[in-house]
Each structure stands twice: as structure tokens, then as C-alpha cells.
């Protein structure tokens, strides 16, 4: 029997009124593995991330490192090591880029109140700077998100998901807004992140990126998994070409 995967969903189903946005989606991601999730617009990819991270009502199981997470609130799932980014960025516009990351490390509560008033606590500046450098955002640390371009804002979102104890990373179209060159760099960064043992689920429409960087790919259409396998097989799968790619991907 193979060892348990790092992350798994089992028969995850999300229904919005008459819309079946996710239909018994079952997938796994191993430690250090980059898994792609592609599909046409409205296929239910974001819904899957929402359901897994606790933002959409779902049935079915979500497991991280053997621990069941379904039913827990979003912040609990994050604390357990499941981090996500957002398709629309969703950064804290009042905070600088570095502070955006700091928030994900030290979460407010009674302990921070006591620490702030009586102690001398400093955010983990090195960890934050390292995460920013990793994504090429070293210069942006003290800027506000609204001053950055769309692509950079997405990367800040990724950096924020990386700090504060992350075992599994769910990325919702992180490369939308990046140009061809930046997207290539981002792929290399993803590989470095995965090499540390973090599992990655990558949603993106940039086929060069997805097919280059992923170990396996799932294809979603109308909420259902219609294909899964290594990138080379996915690229030539007629069902995937019909529903999503349109024609064979040129290299």
C-alpha cells in the first residue's frame, strides 16, 4: 500500500442552488509535488479551493497529513498548514507588503495583546524578507499593495501564503497578470518551493507554465474531473482538447 498522500479530497461536492459547482471531486497531492488543476471558465476550480479552505459549504472529506479538516473554520485550516491565494489578489490594502506577510505569522489574540503592551516582540523580519526575495519582491517590502501592478499583487498573495507554517499551497491563477518571462521565473520559484516538501495545487490558464512545472494534472469540467495524469498525456487527451485547450498546445 502506498503511503498516505499529504493532501486529499474525497468526493468533495459543492452545490449552489441548482448549480452543481463541484461534483464528487477526488484528488491527491503528495509532499513536494506540484499538481495542476485546469478547466474551462466556470468549471469549478475556484469553488474547489473555496471548499477545501473552508469558504464554501461542501460535503465530502478534506485531509491534510492524515488529519480531517472538513468542518473546521478557515482560520483553523490555515493554522493546520493549508494555505491558499485568491484569484483577485485580496491583499490587505492598509498594510505594506511586508506587513501583509507579518499578519499571517502573528495572528491577533490575547497573547499578542499582552505581548504588544508588555513585551518587545518583533515580526520575523528575516523570514518575511526571505519569502519576498524568493518571489522577486524584495524591493516591494515597504510599498502598499495598491501601488503594485496586478502581477506583483498576485505574487504578494503567494508570499503571504508561504509564511506562517505552510504544508500545502493552493494557488488560484497566480500567474494571470504575469508576462511570459515573469511566468517562467515563477515556475522556477514554484519548483524551489515544492523542493522544500510543500505540496502545491496550481490552477492556471498559462499552459506553458502548467505543463512545464506540474508533476500531474487534473482537468475539471462542469464540476467533474474529466481527466488526470502526467502533463504529456493531458496535452494530447482529446476530451481535454475539446473542452479546454481548443487545439493541441504548440511547444
Amino acid at each position: 500500500m502506498p503511503p498516505d498522500p499529504l493532501f486529499a479530497t474525497d468526493a468533495l461536492t459543492v452545490r449552489y442552488g441548482g448549480v452543481l459547482a463541484n461534483d464528487r471531486v477526488t484528488l491527491t497531492v503528495d509532499r513536494g509535488e506540484i499538481v495542476g488543476l485546469i478547466g474551462p471558465n466556470g468549471a469549478g476550480k475556484t469553488t474547489l479551493v473555496d471548499a477545501v479552505s473552508g469558504f464554501a459549504p461542501a460535503t465530502g472529506a478534506v485531509t491534510l497529513a492524515g488529519r480531517r479538516l472538513d468542518g473546521a473554520g478557515p482560520h483553523r485550516r490555515r493554522a493546520a498548514g493549508l494555505a491558499r491565494t485568491w484569484q483577485a489578489g485580496e491583499l490587505f490594502t492598509d498594510l505594506t507588503v511586508a506587513q501583509n506577510l507579518a499578519v499571517a505569522i502573528e495572528r491577533p489574540g490575547w497573547r499578542t495583546v499582552v505581548g504588544d503592551v508588555f513585551g518587545r516582540r518583533r515580526p520575523d523580519a528575516d523570514g518575511i524578507q526571505a519569502a519576498l526575495e524568493m518571489l522577486g519582491l524584495g524591493d516591494a517590502a515597504d510599498r502598499r499593495p495598491t501601488e503594485l501592478s496586478l502581477g506583483q499583487q498576485k505574487l504578494v498573495g503567494v508570499a503571504r501564503a508561504l509564511v506562517g507554517g505552510t504544508a500545502m499551497l493552493l494557488l488560484d491563477e497566480p500567474a494571470a497578470g504575469l508576462d511570459t518571462h515573469e511566468s517562467g521565473q515563477f515556475g522556477a520559484e514554484l519548483r524551489r518551493i515544492a523542493a522544500t516538501g510543500v505540496g502545491v495545487l496550481l490552477i492556471d490558464h498559462d499552459m506553458t507554465l502548467v505543463l512545464d512545472v506540474c508533476d500531474r494534472v487534473y482537468v475539471l469540467d462542469f464540476g467533474k474531473v474529466i481527466a488526470s495524469g502526467p502533463p504529456a498525456a493531458i496535452r494530447d487527451d482529446p476530451a481535454v482538447i475539446a473542452a479546454y485547450l481548443g487545439s493541441a498546445v504548440a511547444e
Partner: protein, 676 residues
């Protein structure tokens, strides 16, 4: 049963006013995103204008008046002119106050609309002969009998009118192109203009319609409800509660809730006359009801984390995270100590009051400025602690400083309870709920004869280790010992809060304020954080309330009115809701503080304080949407960034493809953005 029904129907005329106000509030909110607290005051003006016209044909204007014919005017032209006056006020409000503020932080809009409400209210009292004018009958005086109850036809007509107004407004927003365009313009003004729509003009139409219908129904209901210089102004609170039942989005629910609420209140009045009705529930239950209704409705309807497609960002005042530098802190402390020691009597009392107000404003900076939760209940928190202090010191003989700590803990508990609705709603809507809560606490606790003795709540003077810290000693109105005690407490707490703001807690609060969904995804327990903020803020306000109590020696319901709470928030906003310096400014200009003392003692203009405060409030809110401290800071930062940034671009190839220029300042109000 017949009697019960009779009271149900009797409440319909009040209910109709609530319903039309509530429908209009929803309409204005849909068209502009503004919660217009002044909706009732606009109607109030119309009512008095009609009364004056029907008395002797005088058209009363804000300045001067015009005689229209000799003798009383007929009902139809009088009503038409009265309604027209409401339309004009609504349009003026749009053009002069709300349109300039359309990109200001939500709090700025709330403060401005509260300012307008107080302004119009004051103007009515000044301009009309409120002692002799009456509301003459307008609707037929027929009475029907239904299931043993006598029902006034006028009540039914009013209820019917309310339903008709709601239906028309609903259809306008739902089916007509201008109506749909109005909603679009309110959501994203920029995108609407990019499509060739003119949001300002569209909003003006809604302001005019809602002003008109509110004026009309109030005028028609006045003969039944009675003429009174304030009533309609505060009808806006139950109306807001009714509007909130439909989350300021459903005109139908708002109308239905308004009608029901009117009936409920008369039924409760009727029940209060029964011998079996408990004594403690005799007063204030009708006022507390809206709050209860809203809370229940929100819990049945609301979701915790904003879901997909809900607007997740509201415009908020910009923040600069404070850095505590020893020199300025020492300077402020030295100045405050000097001001306490070098003054005496009324002046020292002014300084002490300003210090206490600074603490109250700090509680708002934390809760509203940092956590983004607009609270109009801060004075209620303070009052709760003050009243607890009275009971603790007179009945239980709890010594200082435990008395003050325990009282503040009581306020904390109330704060957490009032914070519960904040788990489900945000922005201007939350302001309404906290206002309802403040009114509930005021009328149900402070003004309830069963809980508050007629002679007021006495408070024993504090003492520590046998040393009296009493505020008065002999002829000394404000002892230096008491003043210094206040100063030490305020300084310690302010420093503690400033450290919170600069630390992890402050950053966490700001994260929640700027995007709850992202905050939850970053691992923050949003619900617990909000309750923590309400608790901390109520604790600070509670300490402030105790200090007010000690400085007065006794408390009555007049000490912590809802209006005082509104004034405090307004002052905190005008000072600068996101900074310590803003809180200090608020303390200095707040009621009975240093500015007030200056006006009474030096220029003897104390009776104009209210006027100066209200006028200054409106003007400042319109001109400085960031608050005084914010505007100054913003200019300073913009200037700095222009100096720091070289005017020329770096030579080609000198920099990486991603931007490397030093930071410019942030735009003052981030455009609302939406999640996909």
C-alpha cells in the same frame, strides 16, 4: 382580542412612517451607498412647513420667510409645498454634503449624515413656532369596526400609502433602466462612468423621490401622531432597524418590518398598562425592541464571512502605523502635566475632561479606526461602567481601584455582547445596530426608574491607601490630586493602546478591517478578533466612564446620552480616527473639554458651543474626509514622497523589469475592489 387588534391598527400610522422612511433609506443606500441618518429630519421640516402654511400661509425658509396669501392655506397646496420643501432639502443634501463625500470613508459619510440630522433638527427648533403650531387634520376621520376593534380609516390609508411607495421604489430599481443604472453607479462609480452613465444625476433622482415620499407620509401622519420638534428625527432609528431586517437591500422587507414595528410598539404600550406586566419592563421596552428585532433578523439571515460576490472592502480612513518616539511622548506628557498643575477650577476641570475624552476617543481609534467597526455605542459602554461604579461604591463599598476595574469589566461584557452583531454585518449597517444598542441601553437601563433611582446614581469619592483622591475638596472644584490621578490613568492606557496599534495586534486589526475573507485565509480568527476589539474598546470606554463618574460625583441618564455618543464619534472622526494625535485633538475639542472651557471662560460664547460644534463638524467632514490629523499627515507624506522620488526615470536597463522606484503615497481611499 378586539382591544389587541385595536392597538395593532393604531400602530399602523407610526408604522407607515417607519415603513416609508425604511424604504427610502434602502433606496438611498442602493443609489449612493450612504446610510442617511437625516432622512427623518428632512421629513420633519416638511411637517412643520405644512403646519406653518396652514396656520397663516407663511412659507418658512431657513433664513427669513415669505407670506403666501393672507390667512391659512388650503390643504392641497400646503401639502404640495411642504413635500416640495423636503425634495429641496434632499437635493441640497446630495449636492452639498454627500456628493463631495462620495469617495470619502464610510465613517465620514455616517458622521456627515448624523451632522446633517442634528443640523436640520436644530434649524426646525429655531425657525418654527414650536409652541403654538398644530398639525391640522388632512385625512378623513372615518372609523370602521372590524372584529370588535375600532379602526381609523386614516391609519389604513397611511399603511396603504406605505405599501404603494415601497412597491413603486422596488419596481423602479428592479425594472427600469435608470433604476438599474443607479444601482450600478452606487457599486462602482468609475465603471459606471466608463459606460457613459452619470451616477450623480441618477442618484439625484432617488434623493428627490425619497425626500418627497418621506415628507408626504410624515405630513399625512402628523395629525395622528402629533407635532413635536424632535419626533421624526429619531423615527429614523426604528426605521433604520426595519431597513436592516432586509440588510438595507430589500425594500419589501424594510416596509413590512416598519409596519410591524409600529404595531408592536403600540401593543407593548398597551401591555404596559396591565397589572401583570412586570415593573422593570414598563419603560424603554418599545425603544429596545428595534435592537432586539435587528439582532434576531441578522442571526437568522446573516453569514459570518462575506461570501463570494459580496463587496468585501469598504472605504476607510488611511492609517499610518504609529512609531512611539520618546521625545514627542515626553513633550505631550509634560504639557498635560503642566496644564493640570498650572490651572485650577473650571479650567482644570476642562483639562481633566479633555483627558478623559481622549481616552474615550482612543477606544474609538482602536475599534473604529483600526478594526474598522463603526460603533455609536461607546458612550453606552462608558455609561454602563459609570452606573456599575455607582452601585459598587455605594452598595457594595468596593474600594478604588478595584471599583473602577470591576466596572470596566462589566462594560467589557456589554461591549462583547454589542459586538456580536458585528460578526455578521459591517460598515454603515453596523453603525445602525450599535446606535440601536445605545438607545436600548439608554432607555432600558439608564432611564428606567426601576433600575435607576430618581435622585441619580451617587458615586463615593475614591481614595487610595487612606489618601483621598476626591475631585472636590472644600472650595477647590478640581483637586490636583484627582486631576493627576486621571492623567496617570489616561496616559498609561493611551501608551498601552499605542503599543497595541504599533504591534501585532494592530496589524491584525488592520488586516481584518481591510479584508475579512483574506484575514480568515491568513489564519486570523475573525470573529474572535472582532470580539476582542469590542471588549478592549469597551474596557477603555468603561474606565473613561468611571473617571467621568468620579469627576461628577453622581450620574444621571443625561450623562451618557446617545447624542453624546454621536458627538464623541464625530469629534474622534474630525480629529482623526486612526491616530493617537487624532484622539488627543478629539479630547481637546470635545464637549466640556478645553475648547468648551475656552468658549465659556474667555469669550463667554458657551451657548454657541453646540452650534459651533455641529457646523464645524459638517464643514470639516466635507472638507477633510480623512480627519484633521489624517489630512495633515497625508499632505506631509505626499510632499515627502515627491521630494524623495527623482523626477527623471532611471536610465534604461538600469533596473529590473519589476518596478523599483521608491514608494509614492497610497491613494487616500482605495477603490472598492471585488472578489471573483
Amino acid at each position: 382580542m378586539g382591544e389587541f387588534l385595536q392597538f395593532v391598527f393604531l400602530g399602523l400610522s407610526t408604522g407607515a412612517v417607519y415603513a416609508v422612511l425604511a424604504s427610502s433609506l434602502v433606496g438611498v443606500y442602493a443609489a449612493t451607498g450612504i446610510v442617511n441618518f437625516a432622512q427623518g429630519s428632512i421629513a420633519l421640516w416638511a411637517v412643520w412647513a405644512v403646519a406653518a402654511l396652514r396656520a397663516d400661509g407663511t412659507l418658512v425658509l431657513p433664513v427669513g420667510s415669505v407670506g403666501l396669501g393672507s390667512g391659512p392655506m388650503d390643504r392641497v397646496p400646503a401639502v404640495a409645498i411642504g413635500v416640495a420643501s423636503a425634495v429641496v432639502w434632499a437635493l441640497l443634501a446630495h449636492l452639498l454634503v454627500f456628493r463631495p463625500l462620495r469617495r470619502a470613508p464610510v465613517l465620514g459619510q455616517v458622521v456627515a449624515s448624523v451632522g446633517l440630522m442634528i443640523f436640520l433638527q436644530a434649524l426646525v427648533t429655531l425657525r418654527f413656532d414650536t409652541t403654538s403650531l398644530q398639525a391640522l387634520p388632512l385625512l378623513p376621520a372615518k372609523v370602521l369596526t372590524f372584529a370588535g376593534a375600532h379602526v381609523n380609516v386614516s391609519d389604513l390609508v397611511l399603511a396603504g400609502a406605505a405599501v404603494a411607495v415601497a412597491a413603486l421604489l422596488w419596481a423602479y430599481f428592479r425594472f427600469t433602466r435608470p433604476g438599474i443604472a443607479t444601482r450600478a453607479g452606487a457599486e462602482d462609480e468609475r465603471a459606471a462612468r466608463l459606460m457613459g452613465l452619470s451616477p450623480d444625476r441618477l442618484a439625484a433622482v432617488v434623493w428627490a423621490i425619497t425626500g418627497g415620499v418621506c415628507g408626504l407620509v410624515a405630513v399625512l401622519a402628523a395629525p395622528t401622531i402629533g407635532l413635536d420638534p424632535t419626533s421624526y428625527t429619531f423615527y429614523v432609528v426604528p426605521a433604520l432597524a426595519a431597513a436592516l431586517v432586509g440588510r438595507l437591500a430589500s425594500i419589501g422587507l424594510a416596509c413590512a418590518a416598519g409596519l410591524l414595528l409600529g404595531s408592536f410598539q403600540t401593543v407593548i404600550l398597551w401591555l404596559g398598562t396591565k397589572s401583570w406586566w412586570p415593573g422593570w419592563a414598563q419603560a424603554g421596552l418599545g425603544d429596545a425592541l428595534p435592537f432586539v428585532v435587528v439582532i434576531v433578523a441578522l442571526f437568522l439571515l446573516g453569514g459570518r464571512i462575506p461570501s463570494r460576490g459580496e463587496v468585501t472592502e469598504t472605504r476607510l480612513a488611511a492609517v499610518t502605523i504609529p512609531r512611539l518616539r520618546p521625545a514627542p511622548v515626553a513633550l505631550v506628557l509634560a504639557a498635560a502635566t503642566a496644564a493640570t498643575l498650572l490651572t485650577s477650577g473650571a479650567w482644570r476641570f476642562g483639562v481633566v475632561t479633555s483627558a478623559i475624552l481622549t481616552l474615550l476617543a482612543m477606544s474609538l481609534v482602536l475599534l473604529t479606526g483600526y478594526l474598522g467597526q463603526i460603533s455609536l455605542a461607546t458612550m453606552a459602554f462608558a455609561g454602563t461602567a459609570g452606573f456599575a461604579l455607582s452601585k459598587l461604591t455605594t452598595s457594595a463599598h468596593v474600594p478604588f481601584p478595584f471599583s473602577i476595574l470591576i466596572s470596566a469589566m462589566v462594560a467589557t461584557a456589554v461591549g462583547v455582547v454589542v459586538g456580536i452583531p458585528a460578526l455578521r454585518i459591517r460598515g454603515a449597517q453596523l453603525a445602525v445596530v450599535t446606535l440601536a444598542a445605545a438607545i436600548a441601553v439608554q432607555s432600558f437601563v439608564f432611564s428606567n426608574p426601576a433600575l435607576t433611582p430618581f435622585e441619580g446614581n451617587l458615586i463615593r469619592d475614591p481614595s487610595l491607601f487612606g489618601l483621598s483622591l476626591a475631585v472636590r475638596s472644600g472650595t477647590d472644584l478640581t483637586t490636583a490630586r484627582f486631576a493627576l490621578t486621571v492623567l496617570v490613568i489616561v496616559a498609561l492606557l493611551t501608551l498601552a493602546v499605542a503599543r497595541l496599534m504599533a504591534g501585532a495586534t494592530g496589524r491584525g486589526f488592520l488586516a481584518v478591517r481591510s479584508n475579512e475573507r483574506a484575514a480568515a485565509a491568513a489564519g486570523i480568527n475573525v470573529a474572535a478578533t472582532k470580539l476582542l476589539g469590542f471588549g478592549l474598546s469597551a474596557f477603555l470606554a468603561g474606565i473613561g466612564g468611571c473617571l467621568i463618574g468620579y469627576s461628577r460625583g453622581q450620574l444621571s441618564d443625561a450623562s451618557f446620552t446617545v447624542l453624546a455618543g454621536l458627538t464623541l464619534l464625530a469629534m474622534a472622526y474630525v480629529g482623526g480616527i486612526t491616530s493617537v494625535s487624532g484622539a488627543i485633538i478629539a479630547g481637546l475639542i470635545g464637549p466640556l473639554g478645553v475648547l468648551y472651557t475656552f468658549l465659556t471662560q474667555t469669550v463667554e460664547a458657551g451657548r454657541y458651543y453646540q452650534l459651533i460644534a455641529a457646523g464645524g463638524l459638517l464643514v470639516t467632514a466635507v472638507l477633510n474626509p480623512l480627519g484633521l490629523a489624517g489630512t495633515t499627515g497625508h499632505h506631509a507624506r505626499a510632499w515627502l514622497s515627491r521630494r524623495r522620488r527623482p523626477p527623471e526615470a532611471p536610465p534604461p536597463g538600469a533596473a529590473a523589469p519589476t518596478g523599483t522606484e521608491p514608494a509614492g503615497t497610497v491613494p487616500t481611499s482605495p477603490e472598492p475592489s471585488h472578489a471573483a
